[in-house]
């Protein structure tokens, strides 16, 4: 009987097509939009991703997200080093600087200053050169994306030449030599990222009293991060977060201060409502159209349980086909945008949630249709 149910469904090409397309559209949007949303969100904390995991990030208590630099006095570093449970603590500068290119144009860059001795927090993925090369005088490491796009130099014939090792860049009137190229995650503002030492960063940037942006802390093996964070707060008045806390704080800041969540939420909700309404209505119309046939099956002795199963199978198969189409569409879509500048992060939970929502739509619609079929009087078969 289930095979007959499927033939009834696929035999009605127009309605079957409409249901599958509606559910496919819904599945596509419900998968693609959250993936895009999470892709953008991941960019907000890409600096944290690239810096790697230290136990605690210490910063001014008013810092709201990772790019919100509120520099502290250098003396805070020694205060943090003195807190019980701290194994070591190193300074980090993070700010922006103007780079002057050969052709005279200026480009705003992110400048990161690493602890001179340990170079902790430096890029893990070096395309060319080594992190240790930063110990050479006037040296900087540039991220490869920035080097080949915004920091590329235009030669006389108009062709762009990527910035490479040995090239000299002027940072705020200081000459700096490129000693390495790093590969970083895409950032939110897509500005080039330049790494150098903490001391050199202080020399490059315009003289300011405070330049210490973050203090990166390694805990003693037996220390509890939450306890030490609290001690740091008490002793220095600074905020201390572990990697995940800081990440969530950053994401939360963007969600609270931009319309991004509402925007994505709205388009996902609309897609769901529209797709579910069209699919549900079409499926119900399909059942009504077949009501007479269900009546025949009932007259011939098919019980309500059998008919309910048939309707449910029809709904589930239509749903599975639509879902497969939609999620398959997202897979094709992501295949084509991988590597491009498009923001896309397909967490495994997304297709799962989409699938559950489609399942919900199918089951609810099927229930409506089943109700109709169960209430059907088999005597309809003799109506002209």
């Amino acid at each position: 009987m289930l095979a007959i149910a499927l033939k009834m469904l696929t035999g009605n090409r127009g309605k079957y097509f409409a249901i599958v397309v509606a559910l496919g559209f819904t599945s596509f949007v419900m998968t693609q939009q959250p993936a895009t949303f999470f892709g953008i969100m991941a960019r907000t904390f890409s600096f944290l991703t690239d810096t790697g995991r230290v136990d605690l990030w210490v910063m001014d208590a008013k810092v709201q997200y990772v790019d919100d630099a509120k520099p502290m006095q250098d003396t805070k570093l020694y205060a943090v080093r003195g807190v019980e449970g701290v194994e070591w603590a190193v300074p980090m500068y993070k700010g922006s600087i103007r780079a002057r290119l050969d052709d005279g144009t200026f480009q705003n860059c992110v400048l990161v200053g690493l602890d001179d001795v340990s170079l902790i927090g430096g890029p893990a993925d070096m395309v060319e050169g080594h992190l240790a090369d930063l110990r050479r005088s006037d040296s900087i490491i540039v991220d490869i994306d920035g080097a080949s796009t915004r920091l590329a130099r235009k030669s006389a014939d108009g062709a762009a030449r990527p910035l490479g090792i040995g090239d000299v860049v002027e940072l705020n009137d200081h000459r700096a030599t490129v000693v390495g190229l790093s590969r970083l995650s895409a950032t939110f503002q897509s500005q080039p990222v330049i790494h150098t030492t903490y001391a050199r960063a202080k020399a490059f940037v315009p003289a300011e009293r405070k330049l210490l942006t973050f203090i990166l802390v390694k805990l003693r093996p037996d220390a509890d991060p939450a306890v030490v964070a609290e001690r740091i707060r008490a002793a220095t008045g600074l905020a201390a977060y572990d990697w995940n806390e800081f990440r969530y704080k950053t994401v939360l800041y963007f969600i609270r201060n931009t319309g991004i969540l509402i925007n994505f939420g709205l388009s996902i909700t609309l897609a769901f409502l529209i797709g579910a309404a069209i699919a549900g209505q079409t499926f119900y119309a399909f059942t009504l159209e077949n009501l007479r046939h269900f009546g025949v099956l009932k007259a011939l002795g098919a019980g309500n349980g059998t008919l309910a199963k048939m309707v449910l199978v029809q709904a589930l198969v239509a749903g599975a086909t639509g879902y497969g189409l939609g999620v398959g569409g997202v897979a094709v879509f992501s295949h084509f945008v991988v590597g491009s500048n498009f923001r896309f992060l397909l967490l495994w939970q997304i297709p799962l949630i989409t699938g559950l929502m489609i399942l919900l739509v199918c089951v609810l619609t099927a229930l409506l249709s089943i109700r109709k079929v169960i209430k059907l009087e088999p005597a309809v078969v003799f109506k002209a």
Binding site: I4, K7, V296, G301, V381, F382
Partner: protein, 192 residues
Amino acid sequence: MSAATVLPVAGEIGGENLAVRLRGITRSFGRGESKVLALRGIDLDVRQGELMMLVGPSGCGKTTLISVIAAILDADAGDCRVLGHDLMAMRQSAKTTFRRGHIGFVFQSYNLLPSLTATENVAVPLLIRGHGRMAALTAARRVLGEVGLAGRRGGAARPAFRRPAAARRHRPGLGRRSGANRLRRADQRIGS
């Protein structure tokens, strides 16, 4: 609206071996002003194996009566026994089981499922009875062959009913045959 007239074609009515025994069957539709009394106390006996024809003007209640006998419509009152079963005492699920085992239909309006092939349409009653798909299709093909409706190409009996012309040609035979198929089991044959 006159009450249905029942004409036994052959033989006298006997008390033994009755396939159908109706006493005082009534059935109405609607309520209040628009209430229609379709059956007003029908008494009817039909013996096993008897060929019975029901004749009457349009709207006199023929379909209503047959629907009650075939257990697809509930009578309002009266006594209704078919093949020894008391239909008035049956719940809907029991009636469904009863139909599945005993009643065959030849529909005037064919009632074929358009997305199924002829063979599949004929196989539907067997599938409902829980026969395996292969067995049901084989039996259906054999029955179609017996009535000369085996497929035109290579003997495969799969004429699809998508084209109206073909459908019109095949439907009556199909209906007759599928009804006859059940007749063999149920000793019942009822038309609208």
